[in-house]
């Protein structure tokens, strides 16, 4: 019997083949514009949404961009501006009072109230342990009336607005009866108050659809419908873009690879913008809590061994910036000029010599001052091909000054476990994001300070007092001075340094103009959503 099935199934296969060919007559329909408005914008992405649940990582990201709002948000310059709150005040940076706008409504028509925000924070803290990672410093939230939210923090925090900017408000009337939000996959779960309403998620088609919110308090956005099309493969995404099936290839917090640029430049229907990156593509981290990397001269000697120009050419193809010793990216508020990083092999060698790292046994490689082997392990993510290549280049540069490093490849999970929890790394490679750089008290302190993420494990009282001062200082001039001091600290102490940083390459359909870039959400900013028009 089973043998008989083979021809039957192959017949089915052949039928499948025939009907597939018939199906090819269907062509994808492009959107038609009516008047000045854009009827549909198709965005292609490789970010994978698993379900239309705001607790799904990427659905959460797109909700924050399109359908949900916080009290405040980042503008195109990276500054915090009003969103659901019209204004705010604080005397001591510990108690913050926000005034909620009175014309905001949820997508189901009910008004947005101060109680919704109080509910959001309480609910997040109760239902989602993960939320403690960013709102754990909130002691309590009060909503004395419909338009006032008072947030009490554990300690003063100037940077609190940056933190609260990523907390999306959810409607109390929907979620108060939901016990486990992560399992609540009904359509109401996606109700927000933003300029776009979630309409549908077709998992098999890989399409998420949003429609303009005609009742949005800030007016009707410029695009009637936004279709988010998911691809698992960036090459297929770019083919779809070149074919005109999508208007915008979009990667959250990233641009496209320079690899695609020459082909795209040949296409008259495509334009490319290059925006400055406010995160850092690849950073060389020292675990400063571990000897011998607790020695700043040694860290400096490492930094002089690297050929930054070569790395910039190799990994950014001209779309990158030359890093500076102050580490913080240009464009950050109170950015301070520090020396540009450059290779100086002789300086590196002489510093290593004076520190006692010398080639004792004559094998061409330096030993530790006590004569033992010196072979630090460079932790690198195996799934990021550029990082692996960069690690190989670094191995070559360090070998040129007599340091033999060992590349320790780890997948994303293991890399995260070592860097975030075990802290057993010696030196490592990892990038940072714009929001990551604003963590802690900003200026990358979240990544540096041992009390926070602390990838470079800095615990020096001098540094920590700068960080604490930033947390409690409101005066602009004082903040400027503190920011400069932090950047000079990085330049001198080098707990980490940038090896290369790539700007954001953002192509788009030339048929449309009015794209605006935002450091948090890239070209999918409110500016774009409200100003996009026919070119």
């Amino acid at each position: 019997m089973p043998m008989k099935r083979i021809p039957e199934l192959s017949t089915i296969g052949m039928i499948l083949l025939c009907i597939s060919l018939i199906g090819t007559v269907w062509a994808a329909q492009g959107e038609i514009n009516s008047g000045d408005r854009i009827s549909r914008l198709t965005i292609g992405t490789i970010n994978q949404i698993n379900d239309a649940n705001p607790w799904d990582y990427y659905f959460g990201v797109y909700s924050m961009i399109l359908s949900h709002q916080g009290l405040v948000r980042f503008n195109n310059e990276g500054d915090v501006i009003p969103d659901l709150a019209t204004s705010w005040e604080t005397d001591d940076l510990q108690t913050w009072t926000f005034y909620i706008r009175d014309n905001a409504t949820w997508h189901d028509g009910k008004p947005v109230k101060a109680q919704d925000f109080k509910f959001t924070v309480d609910y997040d803290l109760e239902k989602d342990p993960l939320s403690k990672s960013y709102i754990g410093a909130i002691k309590s939230v009060e909503a004395p009336d419909d338009n006032t939210v008072i947030i009490n923090l554990e300690k003063p925090d100037y940077n609190f607005l940056n933190t609260i900017a990523v907390v999306k408000t959810i409607p109390e009337h929907i979620f108060k009866s939901v016990d486990d939000p992560k399992k609540f996959n009904e359509k109401e779960a996606a109700i927000g108050s933003g300029p776009y309403k979630f309409v549908n998620f077709d998992k098999n088609a890989g399409i998420v659809t949003y429609k303009a919110n005609e009742n949005y308090w800030g007016g009707m956005p410029a695009i009637d419908e936004i279709e988010l099309r998911m691809f698992k493969n960036p090459d297929a995404l770019m083919l779809a873009f070149q074919k005109g099936e999508i208007d915008l290839p979009y990667y959250y917090s990233k641009g496209i690879s320079y690899y695609y640029v020459p082909k795209l430049l040949e296409d008259d229907d495509i334009r490319i913008e290059v925006y400055p990156e406010r995160g850092i593509t690849n950073v060389f981290w020292f675990n400063t809590a571990k000897a011998p990397f607790d020695n700043k001269e040694l860290r400096q000697a490492f930094s002089y061994a690297v050929n930054y120009e070569e790395l910039k050419n190799m990994f950014t193809a001209g779309y990158g910036t030359t890093p500076t010793a102050g580490w913080v990216p240009e464009g950050t508020l109170y950015y301070t000029e520090t020396r540009t990083l450059a290779q100086d092999i002789n300086k590196s060698k002489s510093m290593l010599d004076s520190l006692g790292f010398k080639d004792i046994n004559g094998d061409g490689l330096r030993e530790m001052p006590d004569g033992s082997d010196f072979q630090p392990k460079l932790l690198t993510r195996s799934d990021l091909s550029d990082s692996v290549r960069a690690a190989e280049m670094l191995k070559k540069y360090f070998a040129d000054v007599g340091i033999d490093i060992k590349i320790d490849l780890a997948d994303k999970s293991t890399h995260g476990e070592i860097m975030d929890e075990k802290k057993t790394h010696e030196i490592s490679l990892a990038g940072t994001t714009f929001w990551g750089m604003t963590m802690g008290e900003g200026y990358g302190t979240g990544y540096t300070d041992i009390r926070n993420y602390g990838w470079s494990m800095v615990s020096e009282p001098e540094y920590q007092s700068l960080v604490d001062d930033l947390g409690r200082t409101k005066d602009k001039d004082e903040r400027r001075n503190l920011a400069a001091e932090i950047q000079n600290y990085y330049a001198e102490e080098m707990p980490q340094f940038t090896i290369y940083s790539m700007n954001i390459i953002q192509p788009y359909n030339a048929r449309y103009a009015g794209w605006e870039y935002n450091p948090l959400h890239g070209v999918l900013s409110y500016g774009t959503l409200f100003n996009l028009h026919e070119a």
Binding site: L17, P129, S413
Partner: protein, 326 residues
């Protein structure tokens, strides 16, 4: 005669049951033996403060705070109730995730195995039978070309040629969306055409070479010489004597490829943006999503064992000397 068949069936069943129980334990142990922590992965970039209580809370939520033997007992208890738990990362039940992905994977893999195997048997026999002819040369060269072609490259070439340049097929995903009934079925078939073609070609190329070589070898056997001496027609020799002897190893190969392809369609799934078992497993491994990993490996185990079991049974039919039929 009957007892021989029964003994064969019973022996195989016991062996498969033992393998299955062993794999169940390995399935529990392997993910936990890997370096990396699902909770740290979950926290990721968002973690502003290194609050150990938060990690403990999350561990407790997923039952990872309990001793390993308790976790193992819980795991067995859940399996008995076909409750594979909840994905740590995807906020969906593992059963839901797997049924969704497995259905699509089977729709992708089954036609591919059938088409690939049929092509391999057909052209492999022809090539072996007409050994050293022009047809043999061309078919073998073609098979070698596909066999040595990396799956990613072949899939991308098909996508680039037929979808991008010729515009005959879509650039990915399982459906266009918004279709129902027969339109939906046609749409799915249209979307699956290239992925099925890629997998069929890849599967056929390997099997073709095995079939061709088996046929060539069998043609040199004395019973073929005897058949020819008896004056049997060439087609009868091929169908009656040659193919029959090629079938047992061919069935094993098809069974192995069927089990393997349930997980091995990863590259094709990525190129064509399909939701299948390959990407589900890959994502779970990268994120150390234990419940999903366990659930997927369990399903794979069942698929591989079922395919091998079926092969053993078919083997016995194809070659009566094995199954105790004679």
């Amino acid at each position: 005669m009957v007892s021989g068949r029964k003994a064969y069936f019973l022996g195989k069943t016991i062996r498969y049951a033992f393998t299955f129980s062993l794999i169940l334990s390995l399935n529990f142990a392997l993910p936990r033996m890997m370096p990396g922590d699902p909770i740290v992965n979950l926290l990721g970039e968002e973690a502003l403060h290194n609050d150990p209580r938060m990690k403990e809370l999350l561990r407790a939520e997923h039952g990872l705070d309990k001793p390993l033997h308790i976790q193992y007992l819980n795991y067995l208890r859940s399996l008995a109730g076909i409750d594979l738990g909840y994905s740590i990362h995807k906020n969906l039940s593992v059963v839901e995730l797997i049924t969704d992905s497995l259905g699509w994977t089977l729709l992708l893999v089954f036609p591919s195995v059938i088409i690939g195997s049929t092509l391999a048997l057909l052209f492999g026999s022809l090539s072996g039978f007409k050994s050293k002819s022009l047809a043999d040369f061309l078919l073998t060269a073609g098979a070698l070309l596909f066999y040595t072609c990396p799956p990613f490259l072949l899939a991308m070439l098909l996508l680039s040629t037929f979808s991008f340049h010729l515009g005959l097929f879509p650039l990915g995903n399982l459906t266009t969306g918004g279709k129902v009934g027969i339109d939906y079925a046609l749409d799915v078939a249209w979307h699956l055409f290239l992925p099925v073609a890629a997998l069929s070609l890849l599967g056929a190329s390997y099997k073709f070479l095995v079939v061709r070589n088996s046929v060539t070898q069998i043609l040199d056997e004395q019973f073929i010489v005897a058949a020819r001496a008896k004056g049997l027609k060439e087609t009868r020799i091929l169908t009656r004597h040659v193919i029959r002897n090629v079938l047992p190893p061919f069935i094993s190969m098809v069974a192995i490829s069927l089990g393997f392809m349930v997980s091995g369609a990863l590259i094709v799934e990525i190129v064509f943006s399909l939701n299948g078992m390959g990407t589900l497993i890959y994502d779970a491994v990268v994120a150390r999503d234990y419940p999903v990993m366990q659930g997927c490996f369990l399903v794979l185990t069942v698929c591989v064992l079922a395919a091998n079991f079926a092969a053993d049974m078919l083997y016995a039919i194809a070659d009566p000397r094995i199954g105790g039929w004679r």
